[in-house]
Amino acid sequence: MSQLMGVSPLLLLVAAGLAIMLVDGFTKERAELASVTAVSLFVAAALAGTMLASGNVAPAPDVITRYLAVDQLALFFDVVICVGAGLSVLLAGGYLREHGFERGEFYVLILFTAFGAMVLARAVDLLSIFLGLETMSLGAYALVAYRRTSARAVEGAVKYFLLGSFAAAILLFGSALLYGATGHTDLAGIGQVVAAGQADATLTVLALVMLIVGLAFKLGAVPFHMWVPDAYEGAVTPVTTFMSVGIKAAAVAVLLRVLVGAFGDPASMGLYTGWTPVIMLLAVITMVYGNLAALAQTSVKRMLAYSSVAHAGYILVGLAAVHEVGSFAVSSVLYYIAAYTFSNVLAFGSLILMGSKGKEAVSYDDLAGAGRRHPVAAFPFVIGVLSLLGMPPTAGFFGKYYVFSAAVQAGGPMIWVAVIGVLASAVGAYYYLKVIVYLFMREPEEDQPIAVPMRSMYVTVTLVLAGYYVVKMGITPSRYLDWAVSAASSLVG
């Protein structure tokens, strides 16, 4: 049993998922499913966190490590995904009940989706990547379609599903080509063959292109981001929250593992010849497009969707710096995704909090004057957007600092990427501030319905937790930095 400690968070989730499925099937009373689910996710996170903090990763049998890495990086993502999912579940506990469509399968789905994401995050074999990806995606498709009577929800789900499957097929085709080119399906083996130059170059390059595309799609990088705003808007807000943190984190993880793990040799990475310039370019257009398009939104939810596209761009900046500064860049990406998880939960959670039954807050107008009437409820929103915007002393600032620091250290063209990045985030300031403007500086129009904050212990707890960590990771980031560094070291020595 101790041999399975390394993957215990995974097992825990599976067990919890199965248990809840059973419970849900046999009871009508599902009042506390949210807390049970959340607790199990947090326990999983705590398990992973303890191992991560102690630095001792329990050894695992080869049969597992062949497909799923048991290392610091995996644990780091376990924590991020579980925490993201757990907080989303708590939000759901408040949100779904308030709006009256709470059903047990939601929690099961989110558990299995999180499971898939965690599998994906530690996948070190093309097969496990595919399986993790599909597990996660199928859960996510279903979650988006959760509110199945809503036209927006099902339309979002359809689009997400069609495009997601299309991208998955591309990724899969790339995987198969890679297998053909190297004769391996495990990333380590592939990496060795590629680095040695023994792989079939043509197939490798084609595979690389397809893998980048497939993973960039999951990450939501422009121009593979088109599903993001629609799916995010269509899904119920807790699901949007989870997608923007958990799924994105998993995508980052696998991107790191594939690009750095399998294609980490100078020739494939090369600043002038390999994937680095591609990522750099993706980063630039993602940051610019995400921020500019977010500017034009009237719906806060959709704005946050575009903003999450923009944040994918910042993450890619860190990734593009790996070529030059290695683990520093990797850890910057890790820190960023962790900081982003809390910030985003805080922002989405606040948006949830600002509405109540029949008066859900979605657009800016819904927020007008709410801050003046309910300053306590609006306060976390302010912290949230400021963190997303990257104002000190919040986690978001530190994350951004870290990523751009990596870019600047990488030097050369990366400095200009950083410059574009900061300018784009200055554009971002506008729409984030708009939230504060509407909350505190505007009054609702005459005949406009006024948003009334919901009263929910679940949401409150979520916001307190997320807000606490947003501030804590901004003021005393050392511990989390250390975790990110040690996690990064398991990928790049």
Partner: protein, 869 residues
């Protein structure tokens, strides 16, 4: 050697009393009884006067011990400046009473005290009386700081302080917005002058290394101001002294109402009459003359500046007098008269007769204060507000006997009637001007002397004329408001003013008649006797004021006196004929109407300024104000933000909701990513090791490489998977020679490909112009065997006497502020092939950091197109 008396603290108290009075009356006056206000206001000045007298006596006594005795009070260090030389110049709050400032202090406190006294009667009923007293006291304090301050900045405190008081007092009746505007005009115009004083001050401290007048003057006497001003102005190189003096004089023209900045003074008559008497006649406006006298050793260093001052003073005297001749209002006439008299003083300064100029300051204080106060008395009597139209007056000698007599005395003095004070002072001025004419071998000075002498004489004629025109129209004939006809007639029954007003009048009139004897000249005209060994005034002033020597030749003395007397006589006679017992403006009827109108409109100078200076500036300001929120804000804010917002809107539109489009965009992305990998990429980098060159390029996935290191068309290496190669270049590989010019300052580098033809070397492309001396420009370069030859391109470029410089190939050297080096150029070619079989060729020119042995002529001239590509 300075002899210092023990009770210097008096100097401070002289200032502090009025200052304290100002503060008390200013803050609490509103709540105090009128009597108390008076006590504080007048009492403080009286005390100050008493202390001034005590100090002056002290100083007088000390003069017997030492010629240069001064009283000094060092208060505290204000702040300090550090000069580029590293010396720290302390700016001390320090007061000095020497012969010049001693006299001025007496004038200020004495005349000031009388005017305070007068104000009790004149302003006693005004509801702003405490405020008035407070301002007046504040003025006294400022003026005393100006006078007693031992250094430029401290003087400047008073200088601006009196300007402030002037502003406050002109606009004393602030409910009349025109008055307040006149005050503002005075302040702003004075500020223009202050601009000059500030700049002048900086030049002084830059050269003399001190702000103290004493140090500046000794530096001036040591000739430190003789060198040329380091910045060329309009293509000429004036001396430091000239520039400094011109700037300082600009300040004087503001404070002392000279062309071009005199325009504020006539408007300043909006203030209550005591203010006009004290500030705008007796004391403040003479501050400019005082400053010139203070710095007389400096001014006298610069003939150019002196000439400018003399000419300006003369022109002002003439211009103002010509305006005064036709004005109809008492105070306006007196105002222009003041401007004109100030012109006299500056003319005196300009011809080097500083003591005479200052003597005129002294006498002028008496008669002009008396005249203004007399005018005030008249206005008080007839209940005229603001100003009194002399054509509505007349015959007041009966009603106002004391006023009339004192007024007459002052008129005589200002006209220069023999043995009155004005006679002596004006005579001295003309004497100074005349002396300039006869200065040997100096065309500039001679012509300035002629101009000044003639101009001042004319002005003196007009002075006598308009003063007596004023006198006759006011006091002789019949009282024209008696029958209450005409517009706005004055009170039908004028009465003499109370004693508080008449006493000062009498005192001042007596002074106006008698103080001239202090300046009893050394040589008496016509008679030619030496009355005494020296003129008392001249001797007294000698210690602190420089100047041209007073001439003793009889012909000069007689010429000056004759002119002065003649001018007076002509002026008074003309006025007698035209205006005595008359009620109409006889001159106006005789003059051409348009000329009269023009003179009456003050030659329309205000309008000219408005049209040429004020309005253009104001228009620019309006444009700037509008442009800021439209143009500048648009360019800096609105346009960028609009662009960003629109870009966002358009980009968001791409997201049109249709799945196919989404899918298509994904495919586009795939194609784009693939496109990057479709063709190989390379980037040649060269590293040097000895004479071997290591050529590398980044490795790529599945890339193969082959090199043609010397670009001769033959590949040295076969296709291989490793990117690098090494190569040793020889003569035959050389493509040319490049000369690199590098600015060691900025790191900017410029490359020139050289041949064996002369080519210009654009040194200015790397070295900012400010670091180039003219000789650095215009180099040419060419190759000569194994050397580079540099030579000057133009005759003016000198290279340490050498015609040409040789620089061995591959070595580097300095050319002015730029570093030059030469490098042989070679070209490397690389072909890369990637997994898709696509190839790409890259070439790079490499400048080798080492030279070859003498390159052959042929290899250098091989044309580029012969190279096989």
């Amino acid at each position: 050697m300075h002899v210092e008396a023990p009770q210097q603290i008096l100097l401070l108290l002289i200032i502090l009393f009025p200052l304290g009075g100002a503060i008390i009356n200013g803050l609490l006056g509103r709540y105090m009884a009128k009597g108390l206000v008076t006590l504080v206001g007048v009492g403080s000045v009286a005390l100050s006067f008493a202390l001034a007298v005590v100090s002056f006596v002290e100083l007088y006594g000390l003069r017997h011990e030492s010629e240069t005795a001064t009283l000094v009070y060092h208060f505290y260090e204000w702040f300090s400046l550090k000069l580029p030389s590293g010396n720290v110049v302390a700016v001390n709050v320090r007061f000095v009473m020497d012969s010049l400032s001693g006299v001025m202090t007496l004038i200020v406190t004495g005349v000031g005290g009388l005017i305070h006294l007068y104000s009790i009667g004149y302003m006693g009923d005004d509801e702003g009386y405490p405020r008035f007293m407070s301002f007046l006291n504040l003025f006294m304090a400022s003026m005393l700081i100006l006078v007693l301050g031992s250094s430029m900045p401290v003087m400047f405190v008073g200088w601006e302080g009196v300007g402030l008081c002037s502003y406050l007092l002109i606009g004393f009746w602030f409910e009349n917005r025109d008055y307040a505007a006149a005050g503002r005009k005075a302040f702003v115009v004075n500020r223009i002058g202050d601009f000059g004083v500030l700049i002048g001050m900086f030049i002084l401290v830059g050269v003399a290394g001190s702000f103290e007048f004493a140090d500046i003057n000794s530096a001036a006497m040591a000739g430190e101001f003789r060198p040329d001003f380091p910045v060329w102005l309009l293509g000429v190189a004036p001396s430091l002294a000239t520039v400094a003096c011109v700037f300082l004089f600009l300040g004087c023209t503001g404070k002392s109402a000279q062309i071009p900045l005199y325009i504020w003074l006539p408007d300043a008559m909006a203030g209550p009459t005591p203010v006009s008497a004290l500030i705008h006649a007796a004391t403040m406006v003479t501050a400019g003359v005082y400053l010139c006298c203070r710095l007389s050793p400096l001014f006298i260093t610069s003939d150019v500046a002196m000439s400018i001052i003399a000419v300006t003073g003369t022109l002002t005297a003439l211009l103002a007098a010509s305006i005064a001749v036709v004005q109809r209002e008492m105070k306006k006439i007196l105002a222009y008269s003041t401007v004109s008299q100030l012109g006299f003083m500056f003319a005196a300064v300009g011809v080097g007769a500083f003591a005479a100029g200052f003597f005129h300051v002294f006498t002028h204080a008496f008669f002009k204060a008396c005249l203004f106060l007399g005018a005030g008395s008249v206005m008080h009597a007839v209940h005229a507000h603001g100003d009194a139209d002399i054509f509505k007056l007349g015959g007041l000698r009966k009603a106002l006997p004391i006023t009339r007599l004192t007024f007459l005395a002052s008129c005589l003095a200002i006209a220069g009637f023999p043995l009155t004070s004005g006679f002596f002072s004006k005579d001295e001025i003309l004497l100074g001007a005349a002396a300039q004419i006869f200065r040997p071998d100096d065309m500039l000075m001679t012509s300035v002397g002629w101009f000044t002498l003639i101009g001042l004489t004319l002005a003196a004629v007009m002075t006598a004329f308009y003063m007596f025109r004023l006198y006759f129209l006011t006091f002789t004939g019949e009282y024209r408001s008696a029958d209450q006809s005409g517009d706005h007639p004055y009170d039908a029954h004028p009465h003499e003013s109370p004693p508080a007003m008449t006493i000062p009048l009498v005192v001042l009139a007596v002074g106006a008649l008698t103080v001239g004897f202090l300046g009893l000249p050394h040589v008496v005209p016509i008679i030619g006797t030496h009355l005494s060994d020296y003129s008392w005034w001249g001797h007294w002033m000698e210690a602190s004021v420089a100047g041209q020597p007073v001439p003793e030749q009889m012909y000069i003395v007689n010429l000056a006196s004759g002119l002065a007397f003649g001018a007076m006589a002509i002026g008074i006679s003309a006025a007698w004929v035209l205006y005595r017992n008359k009620s109409t403006d006889a001159l106006a009827e005789k003059m051409p109407a348009r000329l009269y109108q023009l003179a009456f409109d003050k030659w329309r100078v205000d309008e000219l300024y408005a049209a040429t200076i004020v309005n253009p500036i104001k228009n620019v300001a309006v444009v700037a104000g509008r442009a800021d929120m439209t143009f500048v804000d648009a360019v800096m804010t609105k346009l960028p933000s609009f662009n960003v917002r629109e870009a966002g809107r358009i980009l968001a539109r791409l997201q049109n909701g249709v799945v196919h489009v989404y899918g298509a965009v994904v495919v586009v992305g795939v194609v784009a990513v693939l496109a990057w990998f479709w063709t190989p990429h390379s980037r040649i980098e060269a590293a040097f090791e000895g004479t071997r060159v290591e050529l590398t390029t980044p490795q790529g996935l599945g890339y193969e490489y082959r090199w043609d290191a010397n670009s001769d068309g033959e590949f040295e290496t076969q296709w291989k998977g490793t990117p690098g190669t090494t190569f040793e270049y020889g003569h035959d590989d050389m493509r040319g020679i490049a000369v690199f010019l590098k600015n060691t300052h900025s790191g900017i580098e410029h490359r020139i490909d050289v041949t064996d033809e002369w080519m210009p070397l654009p040194i200015e492309s790397v070295v900012p112009a400010e670091f180039l001396s003219p000789r650095d420009t215009g180099f040419e370069v060419r190759i000569d065997g194994e050397f580079l030859l540099f030579r000057k391109a133009h005759a003016r470029t000198k290279l340490s006497g050498m015609k040409e410089i040789r620089l061995p190939m591959g070595k580097s050297g300095r050319l002015g502020p730029a570093r030059v080096s030469s490098r042989p150029l070679v070209e490397a070619t690389l072909e890369v092939r990637n997994a898709f079989g696509n190839t790409r060729r890259a070439t790079k020119e490499i400048a080798l950091p080492f030279g070859f042995e003498a390159p052959t002529h042929a290899s250098l001239t091989r044309p580029a197109h012969e190279v096989v590509r």
